[in-house]
Every structure is written in structure tokens, then in C-alpha cells.
């Protein structure tokens, strides 16, 4: 068998290797199947929401009903029956836990399997300085390190809690970056979102630790719709990490999150994602459908937002973390690693909308395709007439493993200002037999050699991740490509 044929054969062997495929048995309290005004009222009532929020949800639902699902992405999947899904599921617990001790032991065990021992995290707080707001299904069950954050004046809680405790802040910013009817999936999220995280960093405060949320989809057949809102007030700084894994299941799961970031004058937000949801078996069966709207508004002068993402999971990824560069001299950065193996399909990229003067953006995208996967970069760089001397640099590199996968690049550039400068560079290469042989001659097994070479390819992006997570991300890159060569 030729090397290439062997590579392909071995790629196809991959499938049952998803390491985090297990389902936790916890009784769920579930809304009736399907989507209707009643279901939305149910969700809102369960969460004891104020009237304005229920109205806001219903308004979004009305808009969503008039919208059609987008089909411009290079993705193929069977039509989604939105009435054949559950929109609310919460782990049953009589009272909210006051401490980790009161958290369902089975839940804690699940986190342990994922390598997130909360108890240990708490004990290690001083060492790792990582706060975890663990979202299990749709309800936050444990939030740690609040005290330390409170000392600094930072608010970090579930968005449900924020609605109760800080309604004015939520009301002011919710939907201010991503309007309700921005797109089909965002509208759906507005109508049915169940939980997510809320962060507010007051003026001049540097958040003393990395903020991290582990999302996890659990109940069978439940779409998860998170909502995240992060506000960095003038001169503040915050770094946020979102990391996820999900258990194995048979039916496709719909996931449509909305993340909104607002950076005021001189503020900086770093948002890092490590996404490892179940990608489906070798035929793509059972994977997560991930339709995410992430957008940052660099509202104030000299504000800065940096998106870093490592996308290795999901059957379908539809995701374009974007920056609206409104303030003068504001900056947007996007660093992305997207790995698609087997039947995975990823259509991901970014949008940089330059409005302010001397706004700068930088896009570094690394796409890796293996198996029969399709991986597309789709990016828009737009210089509005007001974006005097705006600048963008884009670099898109694609790496192919085997010859049945595809890499596609769709850069859209619109410049309406003559003084603006936009640069785009793109490369496509195949993982080289020479490199693998060289590594193997030095005793490095083939899978590890692939992981090593691919990690090298992604290095520019991985090194943007917070130190604590860069190591995990490197391992994940290796795990995602296991079996992709003989």
C-alpha cells in the first residue's frame, strides 16, 4: 500500500477515540420538547426572570420565526428540526449549593474525568489562580474564587445571577453588540438562552486572575444556548478562557451560543477558547452542531480585543469571532487553530470592521484538515470611510493530512478608505513525509510526530494562549489527530 493510501486507511480507523465520551446520569428537569412561546415562558419562569427579559426573549422569538437559516457557509448537514429538541434542562437540586461540598458528587466526578477537579482547583487557587464558573448543562452549579475577585471589584458570575444582582448592567449591554436579529442562530439564542457567564471589570482594574468557564453539554438531546457578556470598563484588563468537552451521544446536538464583549476606552479583553466537543463518529454521526456568534465592540479609543481559539471538536462549526473597531486607535486580533478530522466540517474565521481612525487588526489563522474533513477560513476585513489609516494584516495557513480532505480560504476585503491598508497572505501545504520520517528516525512514534509537526505549525497561535492552557491545548492538538496517519 502506498504511503498516502495507508494514511487514508488509518485516518478512517479513527472514530471511537473520543476520550471524554461518557454520559453522567443526573435527573434533569426538562421543558417539553419543541419551541414555542410557552417554552420560552417556562424557561423564563424557571429562571425567575424579570418581565423585561421575558419580553426581550419573546421579541427575539418573533423575529426568529421570520428569519431563515443561513446557507452560505461551506457546510453540509441535514435540515435541523427545531421542534425536535429540548430547550431547557437543569440538574435537579433542591437548593443552590452554598459550597462545593453541596454539589452533586456525580457532577464533581464528571469534572474530575475531564481533568477539572474543582476541589483541587479551589485548594490550588493560590497556585494556579484560575477561577472556574462551571456550567453544567444550562445552570451554573459552582462558582469559585468569588471572594478574591470581589476584592478587586470584578463581577464574575452566571448571567442568570447577573440578571438578578446587576439588572441595570445586563439590561444596558445585553444585545448591544449582537442585535437580536443579527442572524438566525443569534435570534434563536436570544429567545431560549439558558445560562452562561457574565463579567464586569470596573474602571482601571486589572483582573487579578484568568477567568475560566468550562461548558459541558450533558442531558441527551438538549441543545445548549449559552449567553456570555463581558464588559471591560475604561482602562481595565481581563483575560477569559472558555474550554469545553462533551460526552458521546447518538443524536446531533444543536449548540448556538452568543458571546458579546464590550471594551471601553483603554480597556483590553483577551478571550481564549479551547473547544473539544464531540465531533461524531467516523461517519460524522452524533457530533455537535456548533453555530456561534461571537463579537466584540472596541467602543473606546485605544481599546483592544484579542480572540484566540483552538477548535478541534464538533461535527459542524460555524463561527466567526469578530471585532467592531469603533474607537480611534483601537485594535482587534484573531488567532485561530481549527482542526477538522474524519467527517468534521468547519467554516470559521473572523470579521474585522474598521470604523475608527488608525484602527489596526491582525488575523492569524491555521487550519488543519485530515480524513475527509472540510475546513474553511472565511474572513471579512472592512475599512469604512471613517477608518483613516486603518491597517490589517491577515495570514491564513492550511495544512492537509492525506488527500481526501479539503482546505478552503474565502477572504472578503472591502475598503472604502484610500488611506487604509489591507494585507492578505495565504499558504496551503501538506504534512511532509520528510518531516515525519525525520522525527520517527529519532525514535518519535508516528502519531506523536504528527502532533509535534502540527503543534509547530500552530505555534504562533498556541503561544497566544494563557500559559496554563497552552500546554493543555498542545495535548489536545495531538489527541484530535490521533490515528490520522499510519
Amino acid at each position: 500500500m502506498s504511503a498516502t493510501a495507508e494514511t487514508i486507511a488509518d485516518v478512517e480507523k479513527l472514530g471511537d477515540r473520543y476520550k471524554y465520551g461518557f454520559v453522567t446520569e443526573i435527573e434533569s428537569e426538562t421543558a417539553p420538547k419543541g419551541l414555542s412561546e410557552d417554552v420560552i415562558r417556562f424557561i423564563s419562569a424557571k429562571k425567575e426572570e424579570p418581565d423585561w427579559l421575558l419580553e426581550w426573549r419573546l421579541q427575539a422569538y418573533a423575529k426568529w420565526q421570520k428569519m431563515t437559516e443561513p446557507n452560505w457557509a461551506k457546510l453540509g448537514y441535514p435540515p435541523i428540526d427545531y421542534q425536535d429538541s429540548y430547550y431547557y434542562s437543569a440538574p435537579k437540586q433542591k437548593d443552590a449549593p452554598k459550597s462545593l461540598d453541596e454539589v452533586d458528587p456525580e457532577l464533581l466526578e464528571t469534572y474530575a474525568k475531564l481533568g477539572i477537579p474543582l476541589k483541587e482547583q479551589e485548594m490550588l487557587a493560590g497556585v494556579r489562580n484560575v477561577a472556574v464558573d462551571a456550567v453544567f448543562d444550562s445552570v451554573s452549579v459552582a462558582t469559585t474564587f468569588k471572594a478574591k475577585l470581589a476584592e478587586a471589584g470584578v463581577i464574575f458570575c452566571s448571567i442568570s445571577e447577573a440578571v438578578r444582582e446587576y439588572p441595570d448592567l445586563v439590561r444596558k449591554y445585553l444585545g448591544s453588540v449582537v442585535p437580536q436579529d443579527d442572524n438566525f442562530f443569534a435570534a434563536l439564542n436570544c429567545a431560549v438562552y439558558t445560562d452562561g457567564s457574565f463579567v464586569y471589570v470596573p474602571k482601571g482594574v486589572k483582573c487579578p486572575m484568568e477567568l475560566s468557564t468550562y461548558f459541558r453539554i450533558n442531558a441527551e438531546n438538549t441543545g445548549q444556548f449559552e449567553r456570555t457578556l463581558i464588559i471591560a470598563d475604561e482602562g481595565s484588563y481581563v483575560s477569559y478562557l472558555e474550554g469545553c468537552t462533551a460526552p458521546m451521544r447518538d443524536e446531533n446536538q444543536l449548540h448556538a451560543a452568543v458571546v458579546e464583549l464590550v471594551a471601553h476606552k483603554d480597556a483590553e479583553i483577551k478571550y481564549s477558547t479551547v473547544q473539544n466537543w464531540y465531533p461524531g463518529d467516523e461517519n460524522g454521526k452524533g457530533g455537535i452542531y456548533n453555530f456561534v456568534t461571537k463579537r466584540a465592540l472596541c467602543q473606546g479609543d485605544r481599546s483592544k480585543v484579542m480572540w484566540t481559539q483552538v477548535e478541534t471538536g464538533s461535527a459542524i462549526t460555524w463561527k466567526y469571532p469578530s471585532c467592531v473597531l469603533q474607537g480611534d486607535d483601537s485594535q482587534g486580533e484573531f488567532y485561530s487553530v481549527a482542526i477538522a478530522n474524519n467527517m468534521q466540517q468547519a467554516d470559521t474565521g473572523t470579521k474585522m470592521i474598521h470604523m475608527g481612525k488608525r484602527t489596526r487588526s491582525r488575523i492569524i489563522s491555521k487550519g488543519i484538515s485530515a480524513g475527509r474533513a472540510q475546513n474553511s477560513y472565511r474572513g471579512l476585513v472592512k475599512m469604512l470611510p471613517s477608518a483613516d489609516k486603518g491597517r490589517n494584516f491577515t495570514q491564513c495557513d492550511s495544512l492537509l493530512i492525506g488527500d481526501k480532505c479539503g482546505a478552503h480560504t474565502f477572504p472578503y476585503i472591502e475598503s472604502q478608505n484610500r488611506s487604509a491598508r489591507v494585507e492578505h497572505e495565504a499558504t496551503t501545504s501538506k504534512i511532509s513525509e520528510d518531516q515525519l520520517f525525520y522525527c520517527r528516525q529519532r525514535g518519535i512514534g508516528e502519531e506523536e510526530a504528527v502532533a509535534l509537526v502540527v503543534n509547530g505549525f500552530c505555534r504562533e497561535v498556541l503561544q497566544q494562549l494563557p500559559m496554563e492552557f497552552a500546554v493543555e491545548a498542545q495535548k489536545l492538538v495531538g489527541i484530535s489527530l490521533e490515528g490520522s496517519v499510519g
Binding site: 504511503a3 511532509s432 513525509e433 520528510d434 518531516q435 520520517f437 525525520y438 522525527c439 520517527r440 528516525q441 529519532r442 525514535g443 518519535i444 512514534g445 508516528e446 506523536e448 509535534l452 509537526v453 503543534n455 509547530g456 505549525f457 500552530c458 505555534r459 504562533e460
Partner: protein
């Protein structure tokens, strides 16, 4: 130590090694010389187990273990090291990471424990020092933007770190000026030992001025056509391959 008998290897359906016999005892350095297209690099790659080098017959044993059919990493774990004619660039992977991954992979394959970061660093620094190589080289991505000399020194460093039982040096002199050649040869000579064998593959006699072989073999048309002492290399240098090949063909 290395025993090759009647080895036949083909590449893309064409037989390149046509019944090659060679024996290199422990502690000896043997040179393989030969004209272009004789099969020198094929021999190196076939020994290392590169894909596409199809075994068609004969045997190759390292320390009594047959290496035929083994994966390259398993041959490496048995102690076989190939210094590449053209060392490969691995962008984004620091030399230090590469070496540590390689060394620990081999240790695991041999049933040893992985070296801790600290022990590894100690070992690397010791080797760097003895070879006179600056640590800065290991902070750069493997071979990326390296000069010819740096690449070959990096190969020697890897050899010193991995402590192979048998080394195959494939045209180590290619792309080196005389100063770089000396430095690399010094490194190789430092690794000569009574329990290590070496096979030095070269087109020119020049390298053998610096790495003195115990035996010299001439490879032509996929076979060893003549063997002798170091003087054979000098003879080849003086007369060229043409004369010798005519003689052996006759």
C-alpha cells in the same frame, strides 16, 4: 554488530540494492564510497526503514535483531541512528522540545523512565558543552534557517544525546566548507567507542581525512564491489571510480 546479507531493496518498482553484503563489527568505522546513483542513500534509508523502500530479499540485523519490517522508530529504539544528508526543517518546533521528545520516546520504548525536565536540561548542557555548541541553537525551530554547518552540527548533537549503538552518516560532508567539516568530524570522532559501530557514506575521500575509517567499501550498481583498508579511499580519490569499476566489471 551490523550484518547485512544479500539485501535487495527496490524503490518505485526499480531494484536499487541488488544483493548487498556488509558486516560492521562493534567499535569499527566503515566507509561506503561510490559513484552517484550507486545506491548509497538508498542503503541509508533502507536501513532506517523509510517508507517506499521495499524489501525484496536478504537480511539486515543490528546486534542480532532483524530490523527488516520494523517501523523507523523501532529501529531507532534498537539503537540505529541516521545522520541525514539533508536534515529536515520542522517549523515552530524548538530544538529543545524536539530532542526531549525524541529522547523520552526512546527511553519509553526501551522500558526506561522518561527524564525529568531538570535531568534532561543537565544532560543537554553537558553534551552542548563537550561539542562546543551554543544553547541558543536549541531555542530555534529545528533546522529552520540553519546554515549547512549548523544543520550537520545539530545532527551530531542529536547523535550525542540519543547515544545510538550504530550510526549511519549519509553524505555528512555535503554542503560543508572545510572548517565546518572539521567541527562536525570532531564531533563524530568524539562519539567513536569500542561498543559503537559507524557507517560513513560519502562520495568524496575528503571526509575520510577527518573521520578515519577502519574499512572502506565501494558500492556500485547496488552491490559492494570492492573492500579494503583506508588506502582504498586514497586510491579512489587518485584514480576516480571509472578505473575501479572497469576493473571489477572485467
Amino acid at each position: 554488530m551490523l550484518e547485512i546479507n544479500d539485501l535487495r531493496v527496490s524503490v518505485e518498482g526499480k531494484q536499487i540494492l541488488k544483493g548487498l553484503n556488509l558486516s560492521v563489527p562493534a567499535g569499527e568505522v566503515h566507509a561506503i564510497m561510490g559513484p552517484n546513483g550507486a545506491g548509497k542513500s538508498t542503503l541509508a534509508y533502507a536501513l532506517a526503514g523509510r517508507e517506499g523502500y521495499e524489501h525484496e530479499g536478504g537480511s539486515a540485523k543490528l546486534l542480532g535483531n532483524s530490523i527488516i519490517g520494523l517501523d523507523p522508530e523501532d529501529r531507532a529504539a534498537l539503537g540505529l541512528f541516521l545522520a541525514f544528508q539533508y536534515p529536515v526543517e520542522i517549523p515552530g518546533v524548538a530544538g529543545m522540545t524536539f530532542l526531549k521528545t525524541a529522547l523520552n520516546s526512546m527511553r519509553v520504548a526501551r522500558g526506561q523512565e522518561e527524564l525529568s525536565a531538570l535531568d534532561f536540561l543537565k544532560l543537554v548542557r553537558e553534551r552542548l558543552k563537550s561539542l562546543g555548541i551554543d544553547e541558543a541553537m536549541l531555542k530555534r525551530p529545528v533546522n529552520v534557517g540553519f546554515s549547512g554547518g549548523e544543520k550537520k552540527r545539530n545532527e551530531v548533537l542529536q547523535m550525542a544525546m540519543l547515544e545510538p549503538k550504530f550510526c549511519v552518516l549519509d553524505e555528512t560532508d555535503s554542503g560543508l566548507d572545510i572548517d565546518a567539516l572539521k567541527v562536525v568530524a570532531d564531533g563524530v570522532n568524539a562519539l567513536r567507542s569500542p561498543d559503537r559501530g559507524m557507517l560513513v557514506i560519502t562520495h568524496y575521500q575528503r571526509l575520510l581525512d577527518y573521520i578515519k575509517p577502519d574499512r572502506v567499501h565501494v558500492l556500485a550498481s547496488g552491490q559492494i564491489v570492492k573492500s579494503g583498508g583506508p588506502e582504498l579511499a586514497l586510491q579512489l580519490e587518485a584514480e576516480g571510480y571509472g578505473e575501479l569499476l572497469k576493473e571489477t566489471a572485467a
